[in-house]
C-alpha cells in the first residue's frame, strides 16, 4: 500500500484502486510493503493511478527523509513566517505562504 499526500488529504492506494489522477501537496509519501515502510518527502507533483494497479508518482524533488536537515527546516520556517507577515503584494504573500507550507510539511515529516 502507498500513502500519497494529495491536496485533498492523505490518500491510501491499494492494488485494484480506481484509476485516478491526484495532485500532490508538499508532504510524505510512504510505501508500505509487508512490515517495511519507506518514506519520501515529495516537493509537489502528481500521482497517476492506472487501471492495471500501477501508480506513477511525478515530482520535481522526492527525497528520503534522512536526507533532510532539521536545522535548515526550522530556519526556513521562521524566515518565511516572518516574510509572510511583512509581505505587501499578492505575489509576495503567495511566495511566503508557499515557503511556510513547504517548511511546515518538512517539519511535520521529520517529527512524524
Amino acid at each position: 500500500m502507498v500513502i500519497i499526500p494529495a491536496t485533498t488529504g492523505q490518500m491510501g492506494v491499494l492494488p485494484g484502486h480506481v484509476s485516478t489522477i491526484a495532485e500532490l501537496k508538499p508532504g510524505v509519501l510512504s510505501v508500505h510493503e509487508g512490515n517495511d515502510v519507506i518514506k519520501y518527502f515529495v516537493s509537489s507533483g502528481f500521482a497517476f493511478i492506472h487501471a492495471n494497479s500501477f501508480t506513477d508518482i511525478i515530482a520535481v524533488e522526492a527525497v528520503p527523509l534522512d536526507k533532510i536537515d532539521a536545522n535548515q527546516v526550522q530556519k526556513g520556517l521562521a524566515e518565511f513566517t516572518q516574510k509572510f507577515n511583512s509581505a505587501t503584494t499578492d505575489l509576495e504573500k503567495a511566495e511566503a505562504q508557499i515557503g511556510v507550507e513547504v517548511h511546515s510539511a518538512l517539519s511535520f515529516a521529520l517529527s512524524g
Partner: protein
C-alpha cells in the same frame, strides 16, 4: 472553466502551477543535508547565453 471559488492561493495570486512547483522544489533542495544539497543544486543549474539576431546575423551574445 467553473467559478473562481476554491482556487489554490497561488493561482489566485497570478502564479502558474509550474512556478509553484519549481518554488516548492527549490525550497526542499535548500533543506537538504550536504552532500545531497550541492548535488541537487548543481543538478538543476541551467547554463544559457542569449544572442539577438538582426538582419539574419547574430550580434554578440549578452
Amino acid at each position: 472553466m467553473a467559478s473562481n471559488a476554491a482556487m489554490p492561493f497561488w493561482r489566485a495570486a497570478g502564479m502558474t502551477y509550474i512556478t509553484y512547483s519549481n518554488i516548492c522544489a527549490n525550497l526542499v533542495r535548500n533543506c537538504l543535508k550536504e552532500p545531497h544539497k550541492s548535488e541537487a543544486l548543481s543538478r538543476e543549474k541551467v547554463h544559457f547565453s542569449v544572442s539577438k539576431w538582426t538582419d539574419g546575423k547574430p550580434e554578440k551574445p549578452s
